[in-house]
Every structure is written in C-alpha cells, then in structure tokens.
C-alpha cells in the first residue's frame, strides 16, 4: 500500500554518485542509517530511496519509492542495496551491510565504527509476492498483445468464459495478465515468437497465445515448454492435426512424454497413468486441445466431425516409465539422444485392455499381444492403422527376465502379425468388411513398418497391458511425431 505522505514520487532519472535503496521495516537498513549520514557528511553524492516510509532515514531527504518503480527498475531484491551510478547507469552494487566492502565501494574509511562488521540485508518489497505480481503486470503487460476482454461486474467469471466459447466443456482458469505473465516465466522464449501455424484455420500462433491457453487449461508455468513442443509437433504436415481433427473417426492427439522434464514437472507414468488425478497429465494434453480449439478454430460439430469421439480428446497425455523399463525409451528409439526431453504425438483412439494373467514366458505373452493387436480397427483390416502398445511393469518383467529386447519383441510381433490375405478379404468369415479380393493368396503385415510403437508405463501391480489404436496411418494420414522439449 502506498503511504499518503505528499512527498514527490520517484520519477526523475538517477543522479550520478551513490544510490541507496532502503526500507524502515528492515533492521539492517535502520542499522546503516547512521552510515548513510556519514557518507553524506563525507561529501559523497548520495541519493536514498525509501520503499516503505518516505520519512526514513531522517536527515537524508529520502526519495519516495513506495510505488517501487525505481526499486523494480534497478532490479533490487535485497535492502539495503548500495549502487554506484555513472552517466545514469549502474556500474556497481553492494547488498546488505559489510564494513570492508562498503569502505572499498565508497572509498570512505571508518564507516559505522560502532556497528558489527557484517549484517545481511532483508528482502526488498519488490519480492513480496503481491508486489512482485503487481509490478510484473505493471511493467510486463505491455509485452502482451492479446486483446483485453473486460468481464462485466455482474458476470460470473466461469459463465463468462463458457459463454465466449473458450472452454472444452469443463471450467477453465481465467487468463488474467498476471497469470499469463507468470505462465511465460516457464519459457525462455519471447511472447511474440511464432510457434506454429495452427489448423484448421491455419493461424500463426505465438508463444503468448499458447501461454493464454495453458492458463485456461490449468497448467503451471513449468509445463509450458512441454505444451509448446506439443503444439509444434501437432502442427507438422506429418502429424496432420487438420485431418485428425476433421475426421469422423474416434481419434485425437495422444501425447507420450519422455526425458527429465516428465519427472521435473511431476508427470504420472505409474499407477493410473492414463487416468485422472495428475495435474500435469491432465492439463498439458488439455492445453494442446484448447490451442487447437481457440487459436486454430477447431470445434466439435464444426470442423471436428467425429462420429463418437473419445474422452481422451479432453486430454490424453502421460509419461513413459523410463526408470522401471527394461527397454530404451520411445524418444530414444525414435532417434533422440538419451536424456533429451521430448513429446511424441500419436493419433490415437481409446484404450483397450490386454489381459494375460497366465503367461510366464515371452513367447506366450507375445502371442497374446499379437492376438489383441490384430483387432485394432478391425481384425480383417491391415496396414491402414498404427497402434501404440503400452506394456505394464508386470508384463515387461516377463520379457526382461527372458532377456528379450524391445527389438526382439517387435520382431516376434511382426512375425505373428503377418496375416494370410485369405482371412482378410471382403466376405471372408462371413464379414463384408475387409481388403480387396485381389489380395487373397498373399500375406500382409497388420502394421506398416514403424507403425507399432511400444512404451512402458503403469502401476507395478496388474498383468495387464494396453493398446491404443491409431487413425489412418502413414503419409496419407497421420505419422507419429517426436519433438524435443526446449526451454
């Protein structure tokens, strides 16, 4: 709160000489007040700014900085701070009280003879949470170019945000200037930087717009780099977010996060990894979908023509359990160096279970996987849909104990999923759906090369794995995209 003192607020440029920033509330500042008088008496040019009481310290005609404008501009985080200003620029800085350092800094000997030699300072008022936020908005909001929308006094905030069509059907966090600025602290990238051209409206999308939608989604600032990477990956020609959005099929973007960022932001790769209850999993995937909705203009019933959709279109995002995995992480298998944080996007539908509580040998368990994988999209369709196989810890242990690498499992699955065309053609098994009759007598792989992704996740109890079926695969549809998470 600003004291009503009638003193002149601090607006003038910095005077050359010494500048001290203090507050009465700080015991160290009160301790050094006599030292500041000594400096003034020595003939040094000294200007004192007071953060809380323009009458403190007495006898030094302090400049009123209760608005903290000067303290903020000078980057003061501790009081007292003593600065040297030459030609209007700060050329030296001391924080707290230290007789030897202050004497060297000021070239005045014998300072504070009665004082202890050292005394640490106190926190500047600019770092008090409420003030820090007020100052961030005051000096940072000018960097934000999004249109400001004033909510009416009588409008319920949630209803106002729903009413403007900005949500996916669940409540969102109001994207205030302070929250968006705080979100932007999560990245080193500038708010004006272009991230991607977002379908379906093909709109150039800035870091700022991603941050606004990340706030809406409920993200913390440290999630923002993951959201940015996801937006970049989704908007590639390979991933084909446009088609994935527009399709009548069930699918939406499924996000697998690898590398140190997953643990750093608290993502879940274990118990209930696909489910509710983890903020990062829930909001990172949601932020991507809100960018598609709000920036790209992709809304259900408009360009999104899904016949049924799936609940994962709110958010489908989880981390791979790398620590407990016997295998290399998905991102490494897909070409990124070990230890690199990455997101992999997969155009996936719902989760289907693989139950096998009896297999203790990898050959048997691989056959179970293959039998279930054959059902992706339809047991009689081949080469048209990719799949993401999520192997749980108890199933992975069966392969690990037998020494099976991921490549070995994949090779086994490839062989088991080489299917006779006779079983796949239209009409076979009394089912009209199927492949063209000309393929009778041939053999066909269920998945195209690279069309089966394998990751490790889930709780340590349960002999269950999961299959997430894909959408139209390959260059004519969507290809999985792995994208490095930068800062």
């Amino acid at each position: 709160m600003r004291a009503d003192t009638g003193a002149q607020p601090a607006r003038t440029p910095l005077a050359d000489g010494l500048v001290a920033v203090v507050k009465r509330d700080c015991p160290t500042c009160r301790l050094v007040a006599p030292v500041l008088l000594e400096l003034r008496a020595s003939g040094a040019a000294l200007t004192v700014y007071s953060q809380d009481d323009p009458g403190f310290p007495e006898g030094l005609e302090p400049v009123d900085d209760t608005d903290l404008d000067v303290s903020w501009a000078l980057g003061v985080t501790t009081v007292p701070t003593l600065l040297r200003v030459e030609g209007g620029r700060v050329t030296g800085r001391e924080e707290g009280w230290s007789r030897p350092r202050w004497e060297a800094f000021t070239a005045v000997a014998g300072l504070g003879a009665d004082l202890p030699e050292h005394r640490p300072g106190c926190g500047s008022r600019t770092v008090e949470p409420a003030e820090a936020e007020r100052l961030a908005v005051r000096y940072g909001a000018g960097r934000l170019t999004s249109r400001r929308v004033e909510l009416g006094e009588l409008e319920d905030e949630q209803e106002a945000l729903f009413g403007r069509g900005w949500t996916d059907g669940m409540p969102v966090v109001a994207p205030t200037e302070a929250r968006v600025l705080r979100m932007l602290e999560g990245t080193t990238r500038g708010p004006e930087e272009l991230v991607a051209v977002v379908p379906p409206d093909l709109v150039p999308c800035t870091v700022e717009k991603v941050a606004v939608n990340a706030v809406l989604a409920g993200c913390r600032p440290e999630y923002l780099p993951v959201v940015l990477a996801a937006v970049e990956a989704a908007c590639t020609d390979e991933f084909n977010m446009h088609g994935l959005l527009a399709t009548t099929y069930f699918s939406g973007p499924v996000m697998v996060v690898n590398g140190p960022v997953a643990a750093a932001v608290g993502m879940n790769s274990g118990v209930n990894a696909f489910g509710q209850g983890n903020r990062a999993n829930a909001t990172i995937g949601r932020a991507l979908q809100l960018v598609i909705r709000n920036v790209g203009g992709g809304r259900p019933g408009e360009v999104d023509r899904a016949t049924l959709g799936n609940p994962g279109k709110y958010s489908f995002c989880f981390a791979e359990d790398e620590h407990g995995s016997p295998w290399e992480p998905l991102s490494v298998e897909r070409g990124l160096p070990t230890g690199t944080s990455a997101v992999t996007l997969f155009a996936g539908e719902g989760v289907r279970a693989v139950v096998d509580q009896r297999s203790r040998h990898p050959e048997s368990l691989a056959r179970s996987f293959a039998a279930c994988l054959r059902g992706v999209a339809h047991p009689k369709l081949a080469l048209a849909f990719d799949a993401l196989l999520v192997v749980s810890p108890e199933h992975a242990r069966v392969f690990a104990e037998a020494g099976w690498s991921k490549a070995r499992l994949r090779q086994e699955l490839d062989e088991l999923l080489t299917l006779p065309g006779d079983e796949l053609v239209q009409g076979a098994a009394g089912i009209a759906e199927g492949l063209p009759a000309a393929l009778a007598g041939t053999t066909l792989p269920k998945f195209r090369p690279g069309g089966l992704l394998i990751v490790h996740a889930g709780g340590t109890a349960g002999l269950f794995s999961a299959i997430i079926g894909g959408w139209v695969s390959g260059p004519s549809g969507s290809q999985p995209v792995t994208w490095e998470v930068r800062t």
Binding site: S146, R147, R148, L151, T176, N240, G243, L244, V295
Partner: protein, 91 residues
C-alpha cells in the same frame, strides 16, 4: 474490473458472396473433385455420365489424400478452369 486475455486467434472471417447459381449446366465446365475416399470414383463416374448427357463438359480432379486439405495449386487449377465444382466424399 476483471480483465482477461483473448485466447483466440482474434481473426474474423471475410465473408464473400457466393457465385450465382447457373440456370443451366449445358456448355458449362463442371469440375469433379475426388477426395480419394474409397468408392468416390464410383459416385463421380456416374455423375460424369449424367452431366455429360446434359451437355456439360466434365473435368476430373483428385486430392492426394482425403485427410488433408486440397493443395493450393489444385484449388487454383479448379478455380481457373471450372465454372462449377462438385466434391465427392463417398466411402
């Protein structure tokens, strides 16, 4: 006063008047765009027959894949050569 930032693209679409509906297709160039869905060609082959019988001149076009927007060159080619276009979804 509560102020929030607009999360949308802040763009507003430009509305353009539709081309007027031709009274008659005789002598008109009609583009048939196959989006590459299965059996779209069956539907369009029949349409081509019927249109030709009515005196229209039919031009056939095809998108590389139904999952992506038509390439800009293809859209431009259709716009330059055709007076009417029919797009087939099928399946």
């Amino acid at each position: 006063m509560r102020v929030v930032l607009d999360p949308t693209s802040e763009t507003s679409p430009v509305s353009r008047a539709r081309a007027s509906r031709p009274a008659d297709l005789a002598g008109k160039v009609v583009g048939l765009l196959d989006i590459s869905k299965p059996r779209g060609d069956v539907f369009l082959d029949r349409l081509a027959e019927r249109l030709t019988a009515r005196g229209a001149r039919v031009e056939r076009y095809r998108k590389p894949t139904f999952t992506k927007p038509a390439p800009a060159d293809l859209r431009a080619e259709i716009a330059v050569h055709c007076e009417v276009v029919i797009e087939a979804l099928a399946d």
